[in-house]
């Protein structure tokens, strides 16, 4: 650990914190219909789609619209992949994607996961990448934002029947937030050297005299939204460690900022929309503190070299550089790994599989805690608000009052829905992961605890809709593609539907004005309690498998055993 590294981490945190109220305030204006500068585009879309923006929906209507829209998006993406061989913009002449892989990829991009069982440059045509994946990158992020906005409205409204109009929230998220930011970001990346073309792959002779095929394509436009929309699906297989995705230190810091800023800013949007910004900052603080702890552990862990290397007589002063881009080094790899796993993004600029056991534990824990440390755009906040319901329920009982949050009483119905959403995590990670472990043990590259971590990471990533991979595990098999697809669907929609149901339930309630008997949810004690609930629920659920994976690996490393 050195001063420069710590300084870079602090700058990163400061930038995210400073952007939060700015972007948060802008998004609040967008969702409250006060941003109108793209009015013609917005109204045009409503007209084309036959949407009446003034007609609000009950939560069930909102959920049905959302599911229908996502199903259509999935079908379109599945179709494009299967037919890409016959479609234009295919200079590398990619064949149709096999059905199980196409299913997996379509689910993956629809659910904002961007798990990639395939290598982009070796499987997909430009058309598939652009019309298929990139469109889903936008609308899956906008879907998550729409859900959280509906949930926020639920808390902000009283005695209300409706939670908003899904199509309006979807269009506004896309037109006012994601498209303009991505446009600027893509231009910035092109300036930094990221390609944006439809050329076929170039052939080059290397200095050693070998022949190399250099992949390229419309990269910048996809990288911009994959970072902003917490998608994470790279244009290239090695994602943002590829020099064409992430060419310079400047592009690196900007991409890392894009990765977290919208999820962080949504906490402020939430605070503004419920008319108490402190509520948003409290959630920001809980998320931020957990992120900082993760950053600290990973950074510390990676700056210490593998003890086996030191024993073998190698220089350990540069820390664990295995699997890291020398252009970025340990501090920037640490920030990216921690942020991408916290934000449910899943893009990488280093190989998490090669991290030290504790360094690899942090991204895993970030995902296993439910992707609520900022989390996916929208998804992180609605996931967090579900944890808040559990936290205030326990707190409310402990102060002798029917629990309430933002004036809304938290009763059996809300607790039931919150527990349903929380339950889906162990089902997806432990249940489906166990099925893969038993059904396809051959897909695992390494023996012992490290091999177990590879599977655990995969299912944590899929259920958490993160999309990053630990590598070292063959996901592209019929069984794994299917199981991961199911995990992604469960982790997405069995959280979204309870979240919307909660929105509907709390919207219909009257608000209880706060008094000295009400537990304040904007103070330090609440932040501590919320983090405690998240750590205890996640910890109790995953401690046994973590003990069998990274924890025992760490202990064995101390004893000189490697995997």
């Amino acid at each position: 650990m050195d001063a420069a590294g710590i300084l870079q981490i602090l700058i990163y945190i400061a930038v995210i914190t400073a952007l939060t109220p700015l972007l948060g305030g802008y998004m609040a204006k967008v969702y409250e219909g006060q941003a109108r500068f793209l009015g013609p585009a917005e109204r045009g879309l409503y007209k084309v789609c036959g949407v009446d923006p003034a007609r609000e929906q009950h939560w069930t209507g909102y959920a049905l619209s959302l599911l229908a829209f996502n199903l259509a998006g999935w079908a379109l993406l599945f179709g494009i992949q299967r037919l890409q061989g016959m479609l234009p913009l295919n200079p590398a002449e990619m064949a149709a994607v096999p059905p199980d892989l196409a299913f997996n990829a379509a689910v993956s991009f629809m659910t904002n996961t961007n798990w990639q069982s395939y290598g982009g440059e070796s499987t997909l045509s430009y058309l598939t990448q652009m019309i298929g994946l990139t469109v889903q990158n936008f609308v899956s992020a906008a879907t998550g934002m729409a859900v959280v906005v509906a949930l926020i409205r639920g808390f902000a409204r009283t005695n209300a029947h409706t939670v908003g109009n899904f199509y309006v929230d979807l269009v506004r998220s896309t037109v006012y937030i994601l498209l303009p930011l991505s446009f600027v970001a893509a231009l910035f990346l092109v300036w930094q050297g990221v390609p944006q073309n439809f050329d076929s792959y170039s052939a080059a002779a290397t200095l050693e005299g070998a022949n190399q095929v250099i992949a390229q394509g419309p990269v910048a436009s996809q990288v911009a939204i994959k970072q902003l929309g917490s998608n994470g699906g790279g244009f290239f297989n090695v994602n943002s460690s590829h020099p064409f995705e992430n060419p310079t230190p400047l592009s690196n810091i900007i991409e890392m900022t894009f990765l977290l800023m919208l999820a962080a800013a949504l906490t402020n949007t939430f605070g503004r929309m419920v008319k108490d910004q402190r509520q948003g900052w409290a959630i920001f603080a809980a998320m931020g503190l957990m992120l900082i702890v993760g950053l600290g552990v990973t950074y510390w862990s990676e700056t210490n070299a593998n003890p086996a290397m030191v024993v073998a007589g190698m220089d350990g002063t540069h820390g664990n550089m295995e699997g890291k881009e020398v252009r970025f080094g340990i501090a920037n790899s640490t920030i990216w790994a921690t942020a991408t796993s916290a934000a449910s993004n899943g893009s990488v600029n280093s190989m998490h599989d090669s991290f030290m056991p504790l360094g690899g534990l942090v991204p895993m824990v970030n995902m296993l805690l439910g992707e609520v440390i900022f989390g996916g755009v929208g998804a992180g906040l609605y996931g967090m608000l579900i944890m808040v319901i559990v936290a205030v329920f326990i707190a409310g009982l402990m102060v002798g009052r029917t629990p309430e949050y933002l004036g809304k009483k938290i009763e059996a119905k809300e607790v039931k829905l919150a527990m349903l959403a929380i339950l889906i995590f162990p089902v997806g990670v432990l249940g489906l992961g166990a099925a893969s472990l038993l059904g396809a043990p051959g897909a695992i590259q390494d023996a012992g605890p490290h091999g177990l971590s590879e599977v655990l990471y995969g299912f944590a990533s899929a259920t958490g809709n993160n999309g990053s991979a630990f590598a070292g595990w063959t996901a592209n098999t019929l069984l794994n593609n299917t199981l991961l697809g199911i995990a992604m669907l469960l982790g997405r929609f069995v959280v979204i539907i309870p979240a919307l149901a909660i929105a509907g339930a709390v919207a219909a309630k009257k608000a209880v004005p706060p008094s000295a008997g009400t537990f304040p949810t904007h103070g330090g004690l609440f932040v501590v309690l919320l983090m405690g609930v998240i750590l205890v629920v996640g910890g109790l659920t995953f401690f046994p498998v973590l003990a069998l994976g990274p924890i025992v690996e760490h202990l064995m490393l101390g004893a000189g055993t490697l995997f």
Binding site: E411, A412, P426, G431, L548, I551
Partner: protein
């Protein structure tokens, strides 16, 4: 004020414990156990564990398996035992209540005028039946007096020994089953069907059998079931994950892990906490129609309190003599003193006391000729004729009329001059106004037709009530005083008593409107009342406490009845409601926090064979894997027993802000829940190792 019946049971009464031990076994019946999902799950795995133990008789882990199975059964039994104790204590309370109503015979009549009553058991009476009750009869069931007047001994219900009057019409018509008519004869119309009277409902609540789960209890049960399902998935998938490293975990160890992880502590104590809450209410002589309303009491934001009897003492007290400028204060005091000597009202007595203490006046020697004039509704004055002088005291207008008549002038209410207003000295009018503004009642004194001055009768705020309101404010509860006084007087008393707000010139309609208005703002309102005209407000309030002395209509409208008819008890009711929720929340936190230590005990034990390095997680340095698992499961069972007293008494509740309460309870039950099992499991492990059990 009431005398509470001495029914404080010791926490572990021998007879109750014995019965509870028997009931604990009976409650293993799955049909009863299913009411408690966590314990039902524990019961199921106990069966499974027992079956496996029998199958593997003589096997490698047999001795440990036998012990694990036994402790699983103990876990279920201990939870049942906790519930049975709470029920036993409730039944003891209920028996006291029920004793008053068993075997009563009713004299049923066809109509009010019917002469020949039909004698039948009280249990057969239905709502609408008429019964005659004469001196010595026990009133067979709750009802309304529709004819006659009688004195009734209600000590069986209220503990108050003085009989009370019950008569038809008006606000004192309700009678309670189990009370005894002392004199006269009344005809009572029964208002409840068999099994539906207040007593029946309360008995059902404390006995637990028919107890309905309250809303928060349901929500908490869902949380506990959710946690249990998570642990089911965790434990159920663990063999698959462990198989990757070639570890085989004996089934019975998995069962042990599952039971120690699921929230058995709170699951086992949940219904005991609920029953004990009802029990505490009964101890305060309050009967509730449902557990729901007790829980709602904990959420109350606004308390409506009647001024008289709740905030102030029923009677006013003389606090000051205000003489007119040409009158000596001592003269005024003496006149007031003499005129009040025979006045037996609290006000009269207080005037005498004040005069004695201010001027050392003594009662005149016997023999002096004194004729006391008692207060009459006609003259609205009282006084004394002594040794030829005439002293009168009363309301200002009646004394003014008296003075005018004495001096031969008719009072000219319209006329005004610089010193006189309406025939009364301006000075007097000002004094009267000053007293009124201060929240007092002015009493004007005159001697021989000459005005002397004013006695200030003050509403006396009950001692300690100001502090109670401060406490309520700290808890976030707003108090509103309801009074028939004018706004000026009301404001003065409100300020003195320290209530947050007041409703002056209150009528039942105004009261109802206030409740509705407050509820519209999302707040929960509690109030108490006794008259029939309070019934709509009682029904509208979230918690309506009817006074036992009140009408049947009021008692039906409210959701609680205070047998002592003490309106200040609302405050205790609120605290009982809060304590109930806090006990549940705190023990839930404790229960879940315990899991951390249990993981550190059991996980290294399960995987030690494959990964000796996991010994590093054996923070407690437990003797052997078998001993570790056994210690955890024994701790898990014993902690239920250890916490029974806490569940029955409820966690300590000191009124404070929510933030302070949470910090305190998180420290005690959260941090305590983390630390205690580390110590407990270690101690049990040492004992097991010493006894050679594993």
């Amino acid at each position: 004020m009431s005398i509470h019946r001495p029914k404080e049971l010791s926490l572990f009464d021998g007879a109750i414990l014995g019965q509870a031990a028997k009931d604990a076994v009976v409650k293993v019946d799955p049909r009863q156990l299913i009411r408690n999902p966590v314990m039902f799950a524990t019961g199921l795995v106990a069966v499974l564990s027992t079956a496996l133990t029998i199958r593997d008789a003589g096997g490698e882990h047999f001795a440990v398996m036998v012990q694990i199975s036994a402790w699983l059964w103990f876990t279920v039994l201990f939870a049942n035992f906790a519930e049975a104790i709470a029920e036993g204590r409730g039944k003891a309370q209920a028996a006291a209540l029920r004793g008053t109503k068993s075997s009563a015979m009713a004299k049923k009549v066809a109509s009010v005028d019917a002469r020949d009553p039909q004698v039948l058991p009280a249990e057969t009476l239905k709502a609408g039946d008429l019964v005659v009750c004469e001196a010595g009869d026990v009133i067979p069931s709750d009802g309304d007096v529709i004819a006659g007047i009688a004195t009734v001994d209600e000590s069986a219900i209220t503990g108050e020994s003085a009989p009370v009057i019950r008569e038809s019409g008006g606000d004192r018509s309700a009678v309670t089953g189990g009370t005894r008519v002392v004199s006269d004869r009344i005809v009572v119309q029964i208002t409840t069907n068999p099994g539906e009277s207040f007593l029946d409902r309360m008995i059902a609540l404390v006995e637990g059998a028919k107890r309905q789960k309250t809303p928060n209890e349901i929500a908490l049960t869902i949380l506990l079931v959710g946690m249990s399902l998570i642990f089911l998935i965790v434990v159920g998938t663990l063999p698959a994950w462990a198989s990757y490293s070639g570890t085989a975990i004996p089934m019975v160890f998995l069962i042990a892990l599952f039971v120690t992880l699921i929230p058995t502590t709170i699951g086992g104590l949940l219904s005991a906490i609920g029953i004990a809450g009802m029990d505490r209410l009964v101890k305060f002589n309050v009967i509730s129609k449902s557990g729901r309303s007790v829980e709602a009491a904990g959420d109350i934001d606004v308390l409506l309190l009647d001024k008289t009897g709740t905030i102030t003492l029923g009677a006013r007290q003389a606090s000051e003599f205000i003489p007119l400028s040409n009158v000596n204060e001592r003269d005024l005091a003496e006149a007031a003193f003499l005129s009040s000597l025979a006045d037996e009202t609290p006000e009269g007595k207080s005037i005498v006391a004040l005069a004695k203490s201010r001027f050392g006046l003594t009662e005149p020697k016997s023999g002096s000729t004194m004729t006391f004039i008692p207060f009459s509704a006609h003259t609205r004055m009282s006084g004394v004729d002594a040794n030829g002088t005439e002293i009168r005291k009363g309301a200002s207008d009646s004394i003014a009329a008296y003075v005018a008549e004495k001096s031969g002038r008719t009072p000219d209410w319209q006329g005004q001059s610089s010193v006189m207003i309406g025939g009364v000295p301006k000075e007097l009018v000002q004094a009267v106004e000053r007293v009124g503004k201060a929240g007092g009642t002015p009493l004007v004194v005159a001697r021989d037709g000459r005005l002397l001055g004013v006695i200030h009768l003050k509403d006396i705020i009950k001692p300690g009530i100001r502090e109670r309101f401060a406490t309520l404010r700290a808890m976030g509860i707003k108090t509103v005083m309801v009074t028939g006084d004018n706004p000026l007087t009301a404001a003065a008393i409100a300020a003195e008593a320290g209530v947050d707000d007041f409703l002056a010139e209150a009528t039942p309609e105004k009261k109802l409107d206030l409740i509705r208005e407050t509820q519209k703002g999302g707040r929960l309102v509690a109030m108490c009342g006794d008259g029939s005209n309070d019934a709509p407000a009682l029904a509208q309030a979230d918690v309506g406490v009817a006074m036992n002395t009140g009408t049947q209509a009021a008692r039906e409208a409210g959701n609680m009845v205070d047998l002592d008819s003490d309106p200040t008890k609302l405050i205790e009711i609120v605290m009982i409601g809060k304590q109930l929720l806090m006990s549940r929340g705190s023990l839930t936190t404790f229960s879940i926090a315990n899991d951390v230590a249990k993981y550190f005990a059991i996980l290294p034990a399960l995987f030690l064979a494959s990964y000796p390095q996991l010994q590093a997680l054996n923070l407690m340095n437990l003797a052997s894997p078998q001993s570790a698992i056994l210690s955890a499961i024994i701790f898990n069972a014993l902690i239920i027993v250890a916490l029974i007293p806490l569940a029955l008494k409820g966690v300590e509740y000191k009124p404070a802000s929510a933030e302070k309460l949470l910090r305190r309870n998180l420290l005690i039950y959260g941090v305590g829940g983390l630390v205690v099992p580390f110590i407990g499991i270690k101690v049990i492990d040492v004992l097991i190792a010493a006894l050679g059990l594993a």
